[in-house]
């Protein structure tokens, strides 16, 4: 009798855990939509973020993510799609950076910084002038995954297909860009063209991801999973796969935490991604120091094992 009670208790606990981890996604249709949207963002950000990390484009990516704010705010005021406004803003931002950089001969950083704060201020001004938009500012900055609809998901899916296609076609010049811009041109590709294609990829990713994680946090999804991938990968394809996996796990854990503990979903997802990176970095460093120690021991025991000279 006691044995049977214990068995029941253990089964109930298992059921509760399964329900805690998976049940909510079965029962709650909106949460399922949020999960699909989040996973699409994770995979899209994994492809784009890989090159953002490899080329050190974090600053321009971040600027772009904030620079779309006035477009989204203006679009909302005019009653048109926020994504449309974001596209207009992104085009203005990128053209502005190009003009300041080339015509005024200021450094790229200065050009990006100027446009970044200018566009962000304009966005805040637009939202502060409209009472109806004051609440929306938070949703734009931190995401509004709770209002994700099938239409948002279909746009995200189309964007993911486009970005995967661009990556497949442009992977060679993109790789060369990550090593040296000169190598791109001397290998028969145009560095300027493929840099612009890459920037369009970053802009597209920011635009289709802002509703899920917000313009302020989208950079987290671009950088953290890709940085995790960079710790372990030996090929670009494996870096993207690790980034996609890490991003997807972050989305899942972030949504669960948000559901069970009433936390902001976008922030939970991004924080999880950053924590996953931190844990991965600790693991990678520990593994490296153990293998170094192992090599030292091996050298101590077999001092002539590595005979060839490295330059």
């Amino acid at each position: 009798m006691i044995h049977s009670q214990c068995e029941n208790h253990s089964q109930n606990r298992k059921l509760a855990i399964v329900n805690f981890l998976f049940g909510v996604f079965v029962d709650d249709q909106q949460l399922r939509l949020e999960l699909i949207a989040g996973l699409l963002v994770a995979v899209t950000c994994a492809i784009t973020g890989t090159f953002v990390v490899l080329r050190g484009l974090s600053f321009i990516g971040d600027a772009l993510a904030h620079g779309v704010l006035p477009g989204i705010a203006a679009a909302m005021l005019l009653g048109v799609s926020g994504m449309f406004g974001a596209v207009v803003s992104a085009v203005i931002m990128m053209s502005g950076v190009g003009i300041v950089n080339r015509r005024l001969r200021l450094s790229g950083d200065t050009a990006i910084g100027l446009l970044f704060v200018g566009m962000l201020s304009l966005g805040v001004l637009i939202t502060s002038r409209s009472v109806s938009l004051v609440g929306d500012l938070e949703e734009i900055l931190f995401g509004d995954i709770a209002h994700v609809e099938w239409s948002t998901i279909s746009v995200q899916l189309i964007a993911l297909i486009c970005i995967a296609f661009i990556f497949t076609v442009c992977r060679r010049p993109f790789l060369l860009l990550s090593v040296d811009e000169g190598l791109v041109n001397t290998s028969g590709f145009s560095a300027k063209l493929f840099h612009n294609v890459m920037m369009a990829m970053v802009a597209t990713t920011v635009i289709v991801s802002f509703q899920t994680v917000g313009t302020l946090l989208v950079m987290g999804m671009l950088i953290a999973p890709a940085a995790t991938g960079a710790l372990f990968a030996r090929r670009i394809s494996s870096m993207i796969m690790i980034a996609a996996l890490s991003g997807s796990i972050s989305v899942y854990i972030g949504l669960l935490a948000s559901y069970h503990y009433d936390l902001a979903a976008g922030a939970s997802i991004v924080l999880t991604a950053v924590i996953l990176f931190a844990l991965s970095a600790i693991f990678a460093e520990t593994r490296k120091s153990i293998s170094r120690r192992h090599d030292d021991d091996h050298d101590h025991e077999h001092p002539h094992a590595h005979g060839h000279v490295h330059i």
Binding site: L54, S178, T186, G188, R235, H310, I311
Partner: protein, 245 residues
């Protein structure tokens, strides 16, 4: 390894070439008429214009004025036949690429955007790694290698292009004596099969086997065979000292 097919065009010809940035000249009056298998060594201090001239030859910078042709075409028009090794390429601490993939990038000029890598391409990549002695590290991530090994990888990438003209910007930078000997041997082997080489360097020793040397100090100080171009008066003018005899 197959020899380079002879062509009627000079590998590199320049007539009163002026190189610089925009309309600002850095070096003026460069005249060249290189033949297959020749080695031109560009020597000068930092900022002397070596890299600017090499980038112009590679087609990365437009000439300010003057005439420049590589294998009968304007610079930058023949990526399959001209290979360029940049100075300090970013072999980056974050690049998650193994040595083999990095060397395979040397084949991209032949493959374009979509062409599949063939068995022949793979064979060339393996052979290039063997020539620079990094075949044992083929599957190592480039970020885990020493600076010297990374430089060897970049050299293998250039060799994998199987080009007729090599433009090498400080290929011996960061290399020890063995590395420098390796570069000298590779250059000799390439020249023996008819490849024309232009190499920028700080090291006077690198000019030992050159067909001609160009001493640069934001202008052409001297040009000609090593024994002429490296005369004491030119060295003093370029560096402020002469070579110990």
């Amino acid at each position: 390894m197959a020899s380079v097919t002879a062509t009627s065009h000079s590998p590199i010809s320049a007539d009163h070439l002026c190189v610089g940035y925009g309309k600002r000249p850095v070096i003026e009056g460069v005249t060249l008429d290189m033949q297959p298998g020749e080695l031109l060594v560009l020597i000068g201090t930092n900022g002397s214009g070596k890299s600017t001239l090499l980038k112009t030859l590679a087609g990365l910078i437009k000439p300010v004025h003057g005439d420049l042709h590589l294998l009968g075409e304007h610079a930058g028009q023949l990526p399959k036949r001209v290979a360029y090794l940049p100075q300090h390429p970013v072999s980056s601490h974050t690049l998650p690429l193994c040595v083999r993939d990095m060397v395979a990038m040397g084949r991209y000029a032949h493959l374009g955007l979509m062409k599949q890598t063939s068995a022949h391409d793979r064979e060339i990549v393996e052979e290039s790694m063997t020539r620079v002695g990094i075949e044992a590290e083929a599957d190592q991530p480039i970020r885990d290698l020493s600076g010297g090994q990374q430089q060897r990888t970049h050299l293998a990438q250039v060799l994998a292009r199987q080009a007729e003209v090599l433009l090498l910007d400080e290929p011996t930078a960061g290399l020890d004596i063995n590395g420098r000997k390796l570069v000298a041997d590779l250059v000799s082997a390439e020249r023996a099969r008819g490849v024309t080489v232009v190499m920028a360097t700080h090291e006077l020793n690198d000019a030992e086997h050159a067909t001609s040397v160009m001493l640069l100090a934001q202008r052409v100080v001297s040009v000609g065979p090593p024994e002429v171009a490296l005369r004491d008066e030119f060295l003093r003018e370029c560096f402020g000292f002469t070579q110990p005899h």
